[in-house]
Amino acid sequence: MKLKGAEIVWECLVREGVEVVFGYPGGANMPIYDAMLNYPIHHVLVRHEQGGAHMADGYARASGKVGVSMATSGPGATNLVTGIATAMMDSVPVVFITGQVAAHLIGGDAFQEIDVTGITLPITKHNYLVTRADEIAETIREAFYVAKSGRPGPVLIDICKNAQVESCEFIYPAEVELSGYKPVMHSPRPLLDEAVKLIEKAKRPVILCGHGVIMSKAEEELMQFAVKTQTPVANTLLGLGAFPASHELNLGMMGMHGEVHTNLAIQNADLILAFGMRFDDRVTGTLKTYAPKAKKIHIEIDPAEVHKNVFADVPLVGDLKTVLRDMIPLLDEYDHDEWKQEISKWRSEADARSIMNWPEDGKLYVAHLIGDIWKASGGGAIVTTDVGQHQMWTAQYYQLEAPNRWITSGGAGTMGFGLPSAIGAWFAAKDQEIWAVAGDGGFQMTAAELTTAVQEGANVKVAIMNNNFLGMVRQWQEFFFEKRYSAVNMRTPDFVKLAEAHGVPARRVTSRDEVDDAIEWARKTPGPVVLEFKVEQEDAVYPMVPAGAALHEMLQRPVKQ
């Protein structure tokens, strides 16, 4: 069957099971957009390519599938860059398809020619420049395979305009054959035995559950492992939801804004079991004093992460689900009662300082509001966030029981991520309640996607936590720059009017007694809704491990008089 390159693009996407593409057209991808009309894939016209990239990212995280985003050459493609880097830092499988000028024009600075494969080389797992129609099918097949296998990540395909319009025989490759790229699945038995020996000896073990647990769909195995060995589970920011928050072995979040007992457990552990996480500086504090008494077993799919920041006594390179399946039968049962009691003691000491136990003082605190949304939604919503204080409070107080519902930019910390990723997630889970929590700063970075949400009828509830500050930066200035506020005081637009101008129903909430009603109203109102909460302006996220401090050196919330 002879087809045009542009048609081959869609033939391949259909075969990859793609349901929805988030994109923006322009000169260099017009043939692809023309061919699109004949195929059963839904296209979402975004308002800025960055939004499209985050939507594909949110879709991928909520669905566990590969997201797809498109843009034209030049500025279209460069607008994707932040979104690509965001997906890269969090290992999210997204395929980006960009148009490029015709092959014979490459290198000549033609209109809207930008070296997109060059620009995205360090922020993609892999990328391709396609100059001929007969390369398209194989490239797309390969791109999807690379994006989702091994350590997942974004893959970009830059397709020259001539390749889109030329015709060739369409052959969809049955298999992907890559001579070098072969992700390891199993760890060798001798190393598993080494690990089991360490587990046998351990008296104070802790599991560090990272994004890899979700990526490898190993939640079930994690549960079996933890229960069989009675090992408490601490989560990275992106590992939240992989282990039910209400489980008695759950410790909650670790790291810079992690819980006190969690960080203390890590610092006092004699064995760290790191599952699909990479010892980012935000979870370790200074490495010099990190978990000093602990042996470390590191199960990780990417060999380059092993020994990168923290030395692993037993490095198990492989797919987490597979390695855990191999390992669980080799394990004995333990109870670790003393250790668990010790952690509980730390927990109850820390709880006394928790903002959740503060008496009502009529003011709006983000932490409380997150608790309210959690209660109203029965803890079952998909929650996306932007970046800043509200992100940390949401991580701390929206207790997650299941994976693929927590969507936040961890590695890159990309402001502007919240709203578009929620819209993307909606396409993966249209029946589910979805909340996007954003700060007043980050919301304004991609607010234009409100109208995309309206056009698509995306049922997302946006909670803007308006403190009239770039809150997290303000907090750092308060703590570490003697309260010299510099460029953090932010005038905001009338968010209610702004939302309404987009056709989005909206309410402003300024006092405690309006909260429940507003949340209920938002939940009942179909389609996108905006709630603006006028929150306490100078609240700070606690606990906090200052950058470069040891993990147990946490600043804690002052006790309220």
Binding site: T117, L121, P122, K125, S179, D302, P303, H307, V317
Partner: protein
């Protein structure tokens, strides 16, 4: 310390750029990099000499990162393997007829060749190890080097021996290397 790696990559456009970009991104210092075709038209082969201040720890890191590149097929560390190592230099020496014999004599000692003679210069071609070439350069310098070009080191292990592969899952990798590494980490 300098480490030598033999890296086989898919023979595709842009792969050299990916490899060199990776070295930059991960903050490695390339001493030399030579790339060319092999017995297999689909495969290019690189010999990369890299400064690894932390020894095997860096070597491990480098190998692991190379394998992140989809186009990389195989990485061997041949630093401590018996191997044949060659570099080729062309050196243009400023010399008239009166001292030509002297250059000729030096060339003989180093088994180098005079490959071009002009009225006031000659080109010396020398192949060999880094040390040998450096030795020759030292002796030619006082006579007057006008221009020099070098290919960079290429290496091949002797006989059936392979280099060390530290990455689990790759062909012939030895897991005990990972355990050895344990001893060396800071």
């Amino acid at each position: 310390m300098n480490y030598t790696f033999i890296v086989k990559v898919e023979n595709k456009p842009g792969v050299l750029n990916r490899v060199s970009s990776l070295f930059r991104r991960r903050n490695f210092n390339i001493e030399s990099l030579a790339v060319g075709r092999t017995e297999n038209p689909d495969v290019s082969r690189m010999t990369i000499v890299v400064d690894c201040p932390n020894g095997d720890v860096d070597a491990h890191k480098l190998e692991a990162n190379l394998y992140k590149l989809v186009n990389v097929i195989d990485v061997q560390d041949v630093t401590r393997q018996p191997s044949v190592t060659r570099d080729l230099a062309l050196i243009k020496v400023k010399v008239g007829p009166e001292r030509r014999a002297e250059v000729n004599g030096l060339a003989d000692i180093f088994r180098a060749h005079i490959v071009d003679v002009a009225p006031d210069s000659v080109i010396v071609e020398i192949t060999g190890t880094e040390d040998k070439i450096e030795g020759m350069i030292e002796l030619l310098r006082p006579i007057g080097i006008m221009e020099m070009v070098r290919t960079g080191q290429i290496s091949m292990t002797r006989g059936a021996l392979d280099g060390v592969r530290r990455m689990p899952g790759t062909v012939g990798s030895r897991y005990d290397d990972i355990m050895d590494l344990a001893e060396m980490m800071p």
